[in-house]
Amino acid sequence: MFDFLSRYKYNEREGHSKDVAKERLQLVLIHDRTSVTPELLNVLREEIMAVIERYMEIDYQGLEIAVERSTGRRAALVANVPIRRVKTGQK
């Protein structure tokens, strides 16, 4: 009802400061909690890709592998692997 009052400090581009705080916290806590280093993630990425490439051709441009927030205090390894084509004649 008195929303115009809150516009004072509201920054159109950055949004409410508490949302910024929450987002930054959620990001930093994923790393605090899992202690997955970028090096580990790189090794993991290469090994996973090696397996997938036996069967599929992958679009490396759109490839994403990251540790993300799951339910509660759990983290999840999320992979988005765009497929160019499935290799035929493979077992």
């Binding site: 809150s6 400061s17 508490k18 949302d19 916290l25 806590l29 205090r73």
Partner: protein, 266 residues
């Protein structure tokens, strides 16, 4: 056997000691036999918050080392004769006590009291490890700021690795005016991030500073909002279902009128 509850936070200055003083006094108001243990060795503070600083003879380290009996070290509260403080040593450091000694002290106290509240030091080093050693339950105090919430999260992980699962959260120093403007994380935000059950919310209240100045916990003051919030937490500890305080009301009538006529909060 009584309940041994550690009050901890990771970050300093978020209100651990104030919370221990208020929860201990609040439980005593309900007739429970309570002892508060100041585990912050070298940075003793619970005594001054309670107004008991002039009565200390022996301390936690004296008990651990066998220089005195437990009875001699316990300081009786001014207001309730079933409320006691076991003060920290001021001239020693954190390594003066071992986790095993703390376990033994907590066990001994739990035989005689309904509640043993342990005031943990800030940090995650030995002082923290000592404070949690004898506890079966944990309360985490935080404020709605990034640094405090991050440290609280770290503590939750550490407590879990020491077998203290499902700690409960006390969110301290909420400012409803800032929450309304979107400039402070709200209860739901912090609970979503930390993913532990909430035990209570304490509004930011000048009365806390005033009561600390006097050495009289705010929980004793029936007209104080923060005191009411602590009384609510005490009832929840006792197993009662008490709804969380409506923080928009916590500002008082004047703020409400100002808001309605469009003057806004600060």
């Amino acid at each position: 056997m009584g309940r041994v509850i550690v009050i901890t936070s990771g970050k300093g200055g978020v209100g651990k000691t104030t919370s221990v003083a208020n929860l201990g006094t609040g439980l005593a108001m309900l007739g429970r036999r309570v002892v508060m243990v100041d585990a912050d060795i070298g940075l003793r503070n619970l005594d001054v918050v309670l107004g008991l600083e002039n009565r200390i003879v022996y301390d936690l380290v004296d008990v651990a080392e066998g220089n005195c009996r437990m009875r001699q070290a316990l300081i009786k509260d001014k207001r309730y004769d079933h409320l006691f403080l076991l003060p920290a040593a001021q001239t020693k450091d954190k390594s003066a006590v071992t986790p095993e000694q703390m376990r033994q002290i907590c066990r001994e106290l739990a035989e005689e009291f309904d509640y043993v509240l342990v005031d943990s030091p800030a940090g995650i080093e030995q002082g923290f490890r000592n404070a949690i050693a004898g506890a079966q339950e944990a309360i985490i105090v935080t404020t709605p700021e990034v640094a405090a919430v991050r440290d609280a999260d770290r503590i939750i992980g550490l407590l879990d690795s020491f077998g203290l699962r499902q700690p409960k959260l006390v969110l301290n120093r909420i400012r409803p005016d800032m929450v309304r403007k979107g400039d402070m994380m709200d209860i739901e935000d912090v609970v979503e991030i930390l993913a532990i059950p909430i035990l209570g919310v304490i509004p930011d209240d000048e009365a806390i500073i005033i009561s600390t100045n006097r050495g009289e916990p705010a929980v004793l003051d029936q007209s104080c909002r923060a005191g009411l919030a602590y009384r609510n937490i005490v009832r929840r500890l006792e197993g009662e279902e008490v709804p969380l305080m409506n923080l928009q009301e916590a500002q008082g009538l004047l703020a409400l009128v100002k808001r309605l006529v469009g003057m806004g909060g600060r």
